[in-house]
């Protein structure tokens, strides 16, 4: 079997741009997803069932349906009425952030609930408000425990961002598909894409191991 390195070299500049897009969209989505996820996670721990319900439903919807479907709904359903037309970049950020928020919410909830209730009681007994107890006592301890789970979520996000090729967001898979279309070759585009994703996720897991040891 001949393997045409020349077409990979030809596509390298756009693949590199696609890689940057993938990295960018993953970073932005994990950040917005975490912020939104913290709110959702706290909401899901609300004392009253009717207060928990909307958060519960959100999380269930986004965890219970394929990201593939969510991307299509966001791209063709959600964005056009707001933005006026479809836009792959906006879809990329919105769909991945909303999806990641649902998973982050569960990470936050599990992390917060893993902290001994005595910590909260001690904080409250000193006159702290619930918010102060959360901010100074519970979250700093919980976040340490969440690092591995967030690492996993980040890695999954990087890989799942490949589904954005569906709406022609210019990420790695989009350019690989283009390459396949142009040269009618299978191994070169897809193996290259696989290698790029692997390098990304592998470096990421190494980085996360390092962070885990530090915190």
């Amino acid at each position: 079997m001949d393997f045409r390195f020349d077409i990979i070299v030809h596509y390298l500049p756009v693949l590199l741009k696609g890689t940057l897009f993938t990295i960018g969209v993953s970073i932005v989505s994990i950040i917005f997803g975490s912020i939104l996820g913290l709110g959702l996670g706290l909401g899901k721990m609300a004392p009253k069932a009717y207060l928990r319900w909307p958060f519960h439903s959100y999380i269930n919807f986004f965890r219970g349906t394929p990201l593939y479907v969510q991307i299509l709904i966001v791209h063709f359903g959600l964005i056009p009425p707001i933005y006026g037309k479809t836009n792959a970049l906006i879809t990329a950020f919105v769909a991945l952030s909303l999806n990641s928020a649902a998973y982050s919410a569960e990470i936050f909830r599990a992390g917060i609930q893993s902290i001994d209730p005595g910590q909260r009681e001690a904080a409250l007994s000193l006159g702290m408000t619930k918010g102060q107890a959360m901010r100074f006592i519970i979250l700093p301890q919980a976040i340490k425990r969440m690092v591995p789970a967030f690492g996993n979520e980040f890695i999954v996000l990087v890989k799942d961002s490949s589904l954005l090729a569906l709406v022609a967001a210019p990420e790695i898979m989009y350019w690989s598909n283009t390459m396949k279309g142009q040269y009618l070759r299978i191994w070169e585009p897809y193996l290259t894409a696989a290698v790029i994703y692997f390098i990304l996720t592998y470096s990421l897991s190494k980085l996360l191991n390092y962070i885990e040891r530090r915190v």
Binding site: Q119, E121, A122, L124, S125, L126, G127, Q132, F136, Q141
Partner: protein
């Protein structure tokens, strides 16, 4: 004189399980009240109601003239003045000893850092742990941790201190150092409510001993009276098991 704590007809249940039935107590300023009783008697729950870590269903708790269960009462304001020491210490493991003590004065009382630090160092000296200021809680023995926890509560300059079995999680050889700190506090005139199994402490330091069983106050009185000639059969039975 007005009692500093008044408890009237306090009722508390967890689901269908009744934990406190009709508790009535007056506690005066500078008084040391020791609550004893078998496990499951509701004594810890009673104590935790006094700063609303447990929400009672019925009754009234009045601390310094303020009704805790009234809708207008900000419980955080009451808790500033009511320190609590827990069986499991509950020190903040991610903060140094000194930071554990300084946190609430700075964040809740809005003291300047310097003032809080001075107070914290002073209290560490008082509990004999000046050299541990920069240590993390994980490096402390149980007795040291509990003394830090006492210092942390005292940093808020509370008017009342609640102790929830403060020595029950300690190795026997460390009980003494914690009780010594508590005795000092009592001598200084701190109002204290202490749930404990340390009958020696109750006898020596308590102004009054309350015996609870099955969510009710069975008997209360001066320690020499309650230990010497208990008037209820259930009190006698309990004391014969623990003394």
């Amino acid at each position: 004189m007005e009692p500093i704590i008044t408890v009237r007809n306090l009722q508390k249940s967890f689901g269908a399980h009744k934990v406190l039935t009709d508790i009535n107590v007056d506690i005066h300023s500078r008084e040391v009240v020791v609550v004893i009783g078998p496990s499951g008697s509701g004594k810890s729950t009673f104590l935790r109601c006094l700063n609303l870590l447990e929400q009672p269903q019925e009754g009234e708790i009045i601390i310094e003239g303020v009704s805790l269960l009234s809708k207008d009462t900000k419980i955080n304001d009451i808790r500033r003045d009511v320190g609590m020491v827990f069986q499991q210490f509950n020190l903040f493991p991610h903060k140094k000893v000194i930071e554990n003590i300084m946190l609430a004065p700075v964040q809740v009382r809005k003291w300047p850092e310097e003032q809080a630090r001075r107070k914290a160092l002073e209290l560490l000296q008082k509990v004999g742990l000046s050299e541990k200021a920069e240590a993390y809680p994980a490096s402390l023995s149980g007795g040291q941790a509990q003394r830090v926890a006492i210092a942390r509560a005292l940093a808020m300059e509370p008017k009342i201190m609640l102790f929830d079995e403060p020595t029950s999680a300690l190795d026997p050889e460390m009980v003494g150092e914690v009780l010594a700190v508590m005795k000092d506090l009592a001598r200084e005139g701190m109002t204290m409510v202490v749930v404990t199994h340390e009958m020696g402490f109750a006898r020596e330091v308590g102004d009054r001993v309350i015996f609870m069983e099955q969510g009710q106050i069975v008997e209360e009185g001066r320690p020499e009276q309650l230990f010497g000639s208990p008037s209820h059969e259930r009190t006698r039975e309990f004391l014969s098991k623990v003394l």
